[in-house]
């Protein structure tokens, strides 16, 4: 507004309630955002969730421990190996099952491959949200390579049921190992293309840098984890801080946001952390394949699993943050209570705090950078 013009006193603006979702084109699932806007500026944005509430916790109380594993796949359906891994670790910790080393290595290979696949979906869909269609096709092209590997390993393309209680379902063979080596080479060749396509793109930087800044204190206070936390500068990764499933044997970096294109903790930082994590996962897979020990792929587990009375919480580093399973057992074949600590649930709760005075289009950028999956928010 021209500062020499005086604002007439009787000018009043109406605030408008805009409904975004639950069906909307940015493909993050069934999320409803109620946005209160003053013209194009957003005053508040309330997320409404629950459109995909599939009663996981009630089902987990009614079926046996083994039968819960396929349901855990469907929580964060983009990182299904990681979910099942977290659940199996929790059951094994309470029961005292010793997982053989070969199984742990195979679990790590599968989990890291799935991490890259999940970040590729993020990359493609975030480009789509910003209006770029080509990154979507590039991301999914590499993702098909991963899905073909995981299909040979487990039998499924998206939902695998591969980590089982006590170990894994199937062993790896030289053909799959060769395909993984091929994929690593291909991914390393293609990764700079992603930067030329999106990361260094002036329009993308303009839309994501300095947008949706999450400070360190806010990130910790709201319980953010994963790339959202690391994008704000907190160097905390569960694979390094509290290693599980033999992660302590591997050498990899923890990328954190540094405010390279704008402010520390903006959307570009969170995006960049995920892109760097893909490279680190490649390192881990290489080391795991090279050092794969011989042995069994599953421990001796009784046909009916009854956990001793007690409770346990195990958290794992999912592509979206800390996925934890809190299991309370009272000695029966079914659990008394299984609660899922979903990373996207806490990550999404910060939305209303960071959308003050942004444009409506920036809300899309912010939600996309948090990278939510409604399957684990709503369970």
């Amino acid at each position: 507004m021209n500062s020499t013009l005086e604002q007439p006193e009787s000018l009043r603006t109406e605030e408008l309630l805009v409904n975004m979702g639950p069906q909307h084109p940015s493909t993050h699932g069934v999320l409803r955002l109620l946005i209160q806007t003053d013209g194009e500026l957003v005053r508040q944005a309330w997320p409404h969730i629950g459109f995909l509430h599939r009663c996981f916790e009630k089902i987990a109380e009614s079926v046996t421990y083994r039968q819960v594993v396929p349901y855990t796949d469907r929580l964060d359906y983009l990182a299904s190996m990681n979910n099942a891994l977290a659940y199996c670790l929790a059951v094994e910790k309470l029961a005292g099952f010793e997982v053989p080393e070969r199984a742990s290595y195979l679990r790590i290979i599968a989990a890291e491959l799935n991490r890259i696949a999940s970040h590729l979906v993020f990359f493609g869909c975030y480009g789509l949200d910003m209006g770029a269609f080509t990154p979507f096709l590039y991301g999914f092209r590499e993702r098909e390579l991963i899905l073909s590997i995981l299909e040979k390993l487990s039998g499924g393309r998206l939902l695998y049921h591969y980590p089982r209680i006590g170990g894994v379902a199937r062993d790896i063979d030289p053909q799959i190992a060769a395909e993984i080596q091929n994929f690593i080479k291909e991914m390393r060749r293609v990764w700079p293309e992603y930067n030329r396509l999106l990361s260094e793109n002036a329009i993308f930087i303009k839309r994501t840098a300095n947008v949706g800044v999450i400070t360190k204190e806010a990130a910790v206070a709201y319980g953010l984890t994963g790339p959202c936390l690391r994008g704000s500068g907190v160097a905390y990764d569960l694979r390094r801080a509290h290693p599980y499933s033999l992660y302590e044997r591997f050498d990899f970096e923890i990328p954190i946001g540094q405010g390279l294109k704008g402010t520390l903790g903006d959307c570009w930082d969170r995006y960049w952390v995920r892109l760097l994590e893909m490279l680190e996962s490649l390192k881990i897979i290489e080391q795991a394949l090279a050092g794969l020990p011989e042995g069994q792929i599953t421990a001796k587990v009784p046909p009916v699993i009854k956990l001793p009375e007690g409770e346990v919480y195990v958290g794992c580093e999912n592509p979206r943050g800390e996925l934890g399973f809190y299991i309370i057992s009272d000695g029966k074949p079914q659990a008394l209570r299984i609660k899922v600590r979903a990373p996207s649930f806490s990550n999404l709760s910060i939305t209303n705090a960071i959308v003050r005075d942004v444009l409506v289009a920036d809300v899309v950028a912010i939600i996309g950078s948090i990278d939510i999956v409604l399957g684990e928010i709503d369970r």
Partner: protein
């Protein structure tokens, strides 16, 4: 600090609020708290140097038959130690003080416990259902919950 050390530190500061230490046979230990003093204990846990639990991981509501519990999983980034707290309430009148002013993460987590089990958190800024529709009847994660026959005309099986 181990959970046992944290428990002894809490016990000397709040002798009436903290229950006795019980070493579990399997799994993680848990500190039992009196529901009325929950807010003071949590404030102490967050601000006290040496403890500084700044990350609230999870709030779980559990139906243990005779009582409903609210279990809190805490973690400290500075000292890298974790803690599990538990507060039990009566089934007939499940009321607990809210910790949403201490950790903003508790906002949605407590709403979910209210939605699934009916535990009312007093002092919560906006306690309403979060996952289920606002006109849903019943609290699904209670052990005596019966599935509805239909919802707004759509039959359930």
């Amino acid at each position: 600090m181990t959970p046992a050390e944290i428990h002894s530190r809490l016990k000397e500061k709040f002798p009436s609020a903290v229950g006795e230490w019980q070493e579990p046979k399997a799994g993680d230990p848990c500190i039992l708290l009196e529901p009325q003093e929950l807010h003071e204990v949590c404030l102490f846990l967050k601000s006290e140097p040496g403890l500084e639990f700044d990350y609230l991981k999870l709030i779980t509501g559990v139906d243990r038959g005779d009582k409903l519990s609210s279990v809190y999983h805490l973690y400290s980034y500075k000292h890298q130690h974790a803690l599990v707290l538990r507060a039990d309430v009566e089934r007939a009148e499940p009321k607990l003080p809210s910790v949403a002013d201490i950790w903003p993460a508790a906002d949605w987590l407590e709403r979910e416990c209210f939605d699934m089990l009916g535990i009312v958190y007093q002092g919560h800024p906006d306690l309403r259902r979060i996952l289920l529709p606002l006109d849903w009847e019943g609290y699904p994660l209670r052990k005596d919950y019966k599935q509805p026959q239909s919802y707004h005309g759509i039959k359930n099986e």
